[in-house]
């Protein structure tokens, strides 16, 4: 499944990462902690299905492979109350949000996040909120995170976003990425799993230029 609409993601929605960075939020260039959800967009060129390999750009040693949950909207969602959110979601799937390592959240990380093949998506299924998502590299589990870490859980996140932007039918929303996501190198096999959702399996491949 590749979304027919816009693919949104949300950074800094991991409470562990927020706690670690909290002291820096008052310094330049941020000056204050984030108030609204920190949104990014992944262009369609990122999205792949069926386990297509993820290209590692020439000269880069490794990629951040962040496992998350994606929500597919069934209808336009504008100014929705948290309690009504799940009724607007048509399906969910796992997503592997790939990026190049970046330390700053000041400017949109387009060159780090928006590269071809940087969003393998799993098969969609009935709306499911898994308790945890695990990531394995070359057959060994290297990361597991609980969605209870989300600063804004799914219901609050969608409600807060819909207060200033309509999430449209066919849009996809990645609900947050773990700040301690593992890294993977060329040739490594990456798998993400969560109860009730189709797994994603992919490989990191040197980009052919």
């Amino acid at each position: 499944m590749i979304a027919s609409g816009t693919i949104y993601g949300v950074a800094l929605n991991d409470s562990d990462e927020r706690a670690r960075l909290e002291s820096s939020f008052h310094d330049e260039p941020y000056k204050a902690p984030p108030a609204a959800p920190v949104v990014y967009i992944k262009p369609r060129a990122c999205a792949t299905i069926g386990g297509a390999p993820v290209p590692l750009p020439t000269g880069e040693p490794e990629l951040v492979v962040a496992a998350t949950l994606a929500l597919l909207f069934a209808e336009d969602v504008c100014a929705v109350a948290p309690a009504a959110v799940w009724g607007r979601i048509a399906a969910t799937c796992l997503a592997l949000d790939v990026s190049l390592p970046a330390a700053s959240y000041y400017r949109p990380a387009i060159a780090q996040r928006c590269r071809d093949g940087f969003l393998p998506l799993g098969d969609v299924g009935a709306p499911t909120l898994p308790a945890e998502i695990g990531t394995s590299i070359d057959g060994e589990e290297v990361h597991r995170w609980s969605l209870s870490r989300l600063v804004r859980p799914v219901e609050t996140l969608v409600a807060d976003l819909s207060a200033f932007m309509t999430l449209k039918a066919g849009d996809l929303l990645l609900v947050g990425v773990p700040g301690d996501a593992p890294r993977a190198r060329a040739g490594q096999h990456v798998r993400i799993d969560a109860a009730g959702l189709a797994s994603i399996e992919t490989r990191i491949e040197e980009q052919r230029s």
Partner: protein, 250 residues
């Protein structure tokens, strides 16, 4: 040739606009008066829209930033943000620092990946006009310009049409202007872009594939003017078009 996306006879259609702008020809040859059509933003659903911040040195200085960024400041826009010619844009009651931004938009015609600047314009199908509003009160320093500023519903007017690239031989020789209730508040030239259209295509296509219909909003020159609900805002780019937008209370 100018191609417009309109709502007519109960459906969305692409139509060819006459030279004088008075009529449109539908795909079946039918001619309709421009006054009778409903203009949609000339963007196909689902395409990717890239936008540039601080791509004019004079605007960067006006906002207190260095004239040139180390890397281009690019961000993306969602499909919710667009509104067509003669459309209405919500102006929140507390948005006392909401300002229009007149921008040249390049529309991609052929897939572009790893394209050099010298070949980049071959990948452009045409050009249109954007008025990409910003609300300065809502700025935050995380992925700035953040979504609450730049991804609001119907805050990016787009259109009225796409002019074929063949009719715009030099996209870096166009004048831009914005008029609010008839008074000019912004005036500039695409000659002053830090990274021209060809350079933007080279930059973006160095890490992603630009696909047909994708948009690149190329930034705005100086001239920050705060608007009110009820204002008529007209953005115009020579050789491309004149885009009308109305601000409504929200």
């Amino acid at each position: 040739m100018k191609r417009a996306r309109i709502f007519h006879a109960g459906r969305e259609q692409w139509a060819v606009v006459s030279d004088d702008g008075g009529t449109l020809m539908l795909a079946n040859g039918e001619i309709v008066a421009a006054a009778q059509v409903h203009w949609l933003p000339p963007v196909a659903p689902g395409v990717s829209a890239y936008a540039l911040g601080l791509n004019y040195a004079d605007h960067s200085r006006e906002l207190g930033f260095a004239a040139k960024q180390q890397t281009p400041l690019a961000f993306l826009k969602g499909g919710n943000s667009f509104v067509g010619h003669r459309g209405a844009t919500p102006r929140p009651a507390d948005a006392n620092q909401m300002h229009p931004e007149c921008e040249l938009v390049a529309v991609i015609g052929r897939p572009a990946r790893g394209v050099r600047a010298s070949d980049a314009l071959d990948h452009v199908a045409g050009y249109t006009v954007a008025n990409d509003y910003a609300i300065r009160e809502y700025l935050e320093n995380y992925y700035r310009p953040n979504a609450r500023v730049k991804n609001r519903d119907a805050t990016t007017a787009l259109g009225p049409w796409i002019v074929d690239a063949a009719d715009v031989p030099d996209p870096q020789a166009l004048s831009l202007s914005t008029r609010v209730n008839g008074v000019e508040v912004q005036h500039g030239s695409t000659a002053d872009m830090i990274l021209p259209v060809a350079g933007l295509i080279e930059y973006l296509s160095s890490f992603l594939t630009l696909m047909p219909g994708d948009l690149i909003l190329t930034g705005t020159p100086h001239g920050v003017h705060f608007c009110s609900a009820g204002d008529e805002v007209v953005t115009e780019i020579s050789r491309v078009g004149t885009l009308i937008n109305h601000l409504v209370p929200a």
